[in-house]
């Protein structure tokens, strides 16, 4: 096979990722670190995998899908509120880090050109790392998560402007100043156009169109991905990053009734591509001669790990978000980005910096990503730890930080609401009737179906989703449920549901819609079977008797 190398590369990458991720599990190492280390082992250490073009593309795909997913989790309403703080903090941070980094570089004895590159590389924070971790923590749509996402988008824009300017400065002729200005105008114009398209289509177009296709969830999925790539291509055409395009595409689909189901479908795809992305990142890393630059490596890493959060703490703190939110947001920016590597590699290619600078940036990236991953994962614990410190005390605290307070109350209310409830799966005639009956008895009932239209016809609290996904059951609060009922006429789904109910220790009543499915359900341990056909026959008998037609 001519393409066997691709399969092999994929295979090696995924097997290595799996092995390292499993090894990292008992140590509670974040999966991204395991992936990067796997990549380091494959590339720089053993040199097993060469990164092909398709592999490169796969990584990009991972970023696009991840940001698409982030967009799907948020909505215009949720992002709108944090626009100002994101803009101020994002810009402030870029200026501070660039200036501080440049000064530090000069003190460390780097040349001005090297200093410029290192300083620029330090200003980028890694959207992918942070979004991935926040997603794992399920805190993407918390206030600080939203601010962080906003900051990353602002940084993205700044980076684009920066690169355009840098490309213009590289040649310095007058005509290039023109293209430079044109480039910046194009980027901002493009942003405005994309935003407008996203907003307008969300309002007028998508509900109808995606509603039509949503009869087949597979088709809906492919259409949504196409929508995502449409934006990605448009963004690239206008000189914007693919992240921005994918994010806007996601956010325009976020308020569709199927966005929940879409998210669940995109999620595994993201997991797949992101694993490849991080391993590839590790493979790319240039760590030759890292010991020679150990000292500046430590200094710059500390600068990013401590300096960056500090400046954020101040900016956000003084914008009135309170200590906790300011702290949690700040922690998210304590790393440099995969883009920093690309940027440095570009500089190396252009002969502007030496290979030692690329190694330096790589080392700083590796250290900051690893450390900040822990900082983000344990951000609440970290906050409890530093709360007493004097620096934190300097920040004016909003009295019990209202935004944050309401958010937590919301969460708690949500949890309390879903306790001791009955989950009814499948809104066919049987499911609808059961929901109705349960509600008449005053039982809290959660109605679950993949079809939002069907859910609209029942009174229970609705949840759109496919029960095959564990995450759907989790958001239905299965562990705290009193009973799970399935009216579905899908054998596989019912079996799996019964199995999961047993692992959760929750009783379940399953629709045994055919004699053929009964034995399996009994074996799996369903608590109760609704034998609808037998029940129907009994009613037939009654009807024959009571209507005087017979008997």
């Amino acid at each position: 096979m001519p393409n066997v190398t691709l399969l092999q590369d994929f295979g090696i990458i995924l097997v290595a990722a799996a092995v390292f991720a499993f090894a990292a599990r008992p140590l509670r190492v974040p999966s991204i670190i395991a992936y990067i280390v796997a990549g380091l082992a494959l590339g720089p250490v053993f040199g097993v995998v060469d990164v092909s073009e398709t592999l490169e593309l796969t990584s990009e795909l991972g970023i696009a899908l991840l940001l698409f997913l982030v967009g799907l989790e948020l909505s215009f309403e949720k992002v709108k509120g944090v626009g100002k703080v994101a803009l101020v903090a994002g810009l402030g941070q870029v200026v501070f880090t660039a200036a501080g980094g440049f000064g530090l570089a000069l003190i460390m004895g780097l040349s001005p050109m090297e200093g410029l590159f290192v300083a620029t590389a330090l200003t980028f924070s890694s959207t992918v790392v942070v979004v991935k971790l926040l997603g794992e923590k399920k805190e993407l749509d918390s206030l600080y998560g939203r601010i962080a996402v906003g900051i990353f988008l602002v940084q993205d824009l700044v980076v684009i402007v920066f690169l355009t300017v840098l490309a213009g400065l590289g040649t310095g002729s007058e005509r290039d100043v023109g293209t430079m200005v044109f480039g910046i105008v194009k980027a901002f114009g493009g942003m405005a156009v994309l935003l407008a398209v996203a907003l307008l289509s969300a309002k007028y177009l998508l509900t109808g169109v995606f509603g039509w296709i949503s009869r087949s969830l597979e088709a809906l999925f492919i259409w949504s991905l196409s929508w995502c790539f449409l934006f990605v291509l448009a963004a690239e055409m206008m000189g914007l990053s693919l992240e921005i395009g994918a994010f806007l595409a996601g956010i325009s689909l976020a308020q569709l009734p199927y966005s929940e189901e879409l998210r669940r479908r995109v999620h595994p795809l993201v997991n797949f591509f992101i694993a490849v992305f991080f391993v590839t990142l590790g493979i790319h890393m240039e760590v030759d001669g890292a010991s020679a630059i150990a000292w500046p490596g430590v200094v710059f890493s500390l600068f990013v790990l401590i300096g960056n959060p500090l400046i954020f703490l101040l900016i956000i703190g003084f914008m009135g978000y309170g200590r906790k939110i300011a702290f949690l947001t700040s922690v998210t920016v304590a790393q440099i980005s995969e883009f920093s590597f690309i940027f440095a590699a570009m500089g190396l290619g252009a002969g502007l910096i030496g290979p030692d600078m690329l190694t330096l940036i790589t080392v700083v990236g590796l250290v900051t990503m690893a450390v900040s991953a822990y900082m983000i994962l344990y951000n609440h614990e970290l906050y409890r730890f530093v709360k007493a410190w004097r620096v934190i005390r300097l920040i004016p605290d909003v009295r019990e930080a209202p935004q944050e307070g309401t958010l937590e109350e919301d969460d708690e209310e949500e949890l309390a609401r879903l306790r001791n409830h009955v989950i009814v799966v499948g809104m066919n005639s049987l499911g609808r009737r059961i929901v109705q009956g349960l509600r008449e008895r005053g039982v809290r009932t959660l109605a679950l179906d993949t079809d939002p239209v069907k859910l609209g016809q029942v009174e229970g609290e609705p949840l759109v989703g496919n029960v095959d996904h564990l995450s759907v059951l989790e958001s239905a609060g299965i562990a705290r449920a009193r009973l799970v009922v399935s009216a579905l006429q899908i054998e596989d789904a019912n079996n799996l549901l019964a199995y999961r109910c047993r692992t959760f220790g929750v009783p379940c009543s399953i629709h045994a819609f055919d004699v053929a499915v009964v034995q399996d359900l009994k074996d799996i341990g369903a608590s109760h079977l609704m034998d609808s056909k037998t029940a129907g026959t009994r009613r037939l008998t009654e009807a024959l008797a009571s209507e005087g037609i017979y008997g």
């Binding site: 096979m1 398709t54 595994p268 997991n271 797949f272 005639s429 008895r441 009783p507």
Partner: protein, 530 residues
């Protein structure tokens, strides 16, 4: 990025047209991809990569779905029908290909491609018609699974044919070895592993993919095609509950890659020549003409009544996504000319597209007329009158039958399952084997002169002929959906909603279990209640 985006757009168009027309999506994905070949925007190297990844996931997922439990009671019939269809189409396909002037090895590829029917297409139709659980549905699924298995396991042998018998035997041994590995994992390793360690979704997906790629390595090591490895990797995951847990995570990944796969495949086809079109036409005709009577005949041997047997035949009359896999494998190994592959793809495209038309009820009813049973049946015996007629008498119909026979009237039962009919007769009740949607049979059973007709047939549409014929006879129909009830009542029948009955049964259980005031129940009590 443009490449993949363009492929996705084409796939989106394919899905859109399929949704609009209500036809299977695969032909439209191929066509959309084919359309792309006129605008050469996609690099061919990327297409190759997309094909390789796509085919791997397609076959992998097919392996996961290969659960023999889905066939159950129909295993013997499925084995017979599957093998006979496989052999007959293989031989006929080989003959036809030779007659069309193909070389021996090419003809073997083509024959293998013709033997399989499409799981993706047929399962979707069965699901839409809610016939997965009828005995013929099980039969059809069994046949499909068997064919998938046979095709995939034969590929390693066919690819080695040019190297002589020794190489083929090696291929057999290597495939058998890998199958054993898969079986050990399936039976003893993976289910236990799943119970012992709980993985989050990310790790689970990674573990599954790592398993897949390990099998690909192994197959590479053993010198068999990687698709056989991918299929066997899927097989290793096909036991419950492993398959269910995996499916949720893998579904979208495989949806993505399969969509890309079919589109990329279409993009590589090129414009077929006249000769290729002619060849494709002949081969498609072989599939469409031979399959239905063949399957129907064998199915009837296994006591299926005429209509389900004919319908099974019509359902299976298409080539499979695995035909494309076979062809692609040949092209990749340079054992098959791209032109021949185009022929296979055309056959698949055509036969898949007409399957929904073949599976219309009207066609199978019309074909029934040519069925020997339609003429040989003598109507010398007078149809019963003033009796109670029970249509559909499966396990759940039996209690009803017991009640009916106690009553004062003559009882006649109709069912299409020979075993059920035998059981009814053993109980001393008159029974007719046949299809409740067949007007001729209804007449024979005296549906128009009965005292009352009770129908428990599975599909509400099958009551159409009965309701049309019944006239003044009261007809009670057991239906599940409220919409079906309306359908029946609009045609003068009396619907008995069994979803409602089941819901009441559930609520009774719910009340009896003491769940009315559950807030006061402690956890222990809850357990006691159950």
């Amino acid at each position: 990025m443009t490449d993949i985006a363009v492929l996705l757009f084409a796939a989106a168009v394919g899905f859109g047209v399929a949704r609009w027309s209500g036809l299977p999506v695969i032909p439209f994905l191929l066509l959309a991809g084919f359309g792309l070949s006129f605008v050469p925007v996609v690099e061919s190297e990327f297409l190759q990569d997309a094909l390789v990844l796509g085919i791997t996931f397609l076959v992998f997922v097919a392996g996961i779905e290969l659960n023999p439990r889905r066939v159950r009671r129909q295993t013997r019939a499925a084995l017979a029908v599957g093998l006979i269809q496989f052999l007959a189409l293989g031989i006929l396909g080989f003959g036809a290909a030779r007659l069309l002037g193909m070389e021996v090895h090419t003809a073997i590829y083509v024959a293998l491609a013709l033997t399989a029917s499409s799981t993706l297409v047929v399962v979707r139709i069965l699901q839409e018609r809610r016939q997965m659980f009828e005995s013929f549905g099980r039969l059809v699924i069994g046949v499909l699974l068997l064919q998938d298995l046979a095709v995939i396991l034969l590929i390693p042998m066919v690819t080695r044919l040019p190297d002589g018998a020794g190489a083929v035997l090696e291929g057999v041994a290597a495939t058998a070895a890998l199958t054993v590995v898969a079986y050990v994992l399936l039976r003893w390793v993976l289910p236990g592993l799943l119970k012992r360690i709980s993985l989050d979704e990310e790790l689970l997906l990674l573990a599954v993919l790592a398993l897949l790629f390990s099998f690909l390595f192994l197959s590479d090591l053993l010198g068999i095609p990687s698709i056989a490895g991918a299929f066997l990797a899927g097989l290793a995951l096909s036991s419950f509950p492993v398959n269910g847990v995996v499916r949720g995570q893998l579904m979208s990944v495989s949806d993505f890659f399969t969509a890309i796969f079919f589109t990329a495949l279409g993009a590589q086809l090129g414009i077929p020549s006249g000769a290729q079109l002619a060849q494709a036409f002949v081969l498609a005709a072989v599939v469409v003409v031979v399959t239905p009577p063949l399957v129907a005949l064998v199915a009837e041997r296994f006591d299926f009544s005429a209509r389900p047997a004919i319908f099974s035949g019509l359902l299976l009359a298409q080539t499979s996504e695995f035909s494309l896999v076979v062809g692609l494998q040949g092209v990749v190994l340079e054992q098959l000319a791209p032109g021949t592959f185009a022929v296979i793809a055309l056959v698949t495209l055509v036969t898949m597209t007409i399957t929904p038309f073949l599976s219309r009820d009207r066609l199978s009813l019309w074909l029934m007329r040519f069925h020997p049973s339609a003429r040989s049946r003598d109507s010398e015996e007078d149809p019963p009158r003033d009796h109670v007629l029970l249509l559909g008498c499966g396990v759940t119909g039996m209690p009803l039958l017991e009640t009916l026979v106690i009553g004062p009237y003559r009882v006649v039962a109709v069912d299409d399952d020979p075993q059920v009919v035998q059981r009814v007769r053993d109980a001393g009740v008159e029974a007719i084997r046949g299809d409740a949607a067949d007007a001729e049979l209804l007449h024979r059973a005296g549906a128009d002169r009965a005292r009352v007709v009770v129908s428990t047939v599975r599909r509400v549409e099958d009551n159409g002929p009965l309701l049309e014929m019944a006239g003044g006879v009261p007809v009670l129909v057991r239906v599940f959906n409220v919409e079906d009830a309306e359908w029946v009542e609009a045609r003068g029948g009396q619907a008995v909603l069994y979803s409602d009955a089941a819901a009441e049964g559930f609520l009774e259980w719910f009340d009896r279990a003491g769940w009315v005031r559950p807030d006061e129940l402690e956890d222990e009590e809850r357990e006691q209640v159950l």
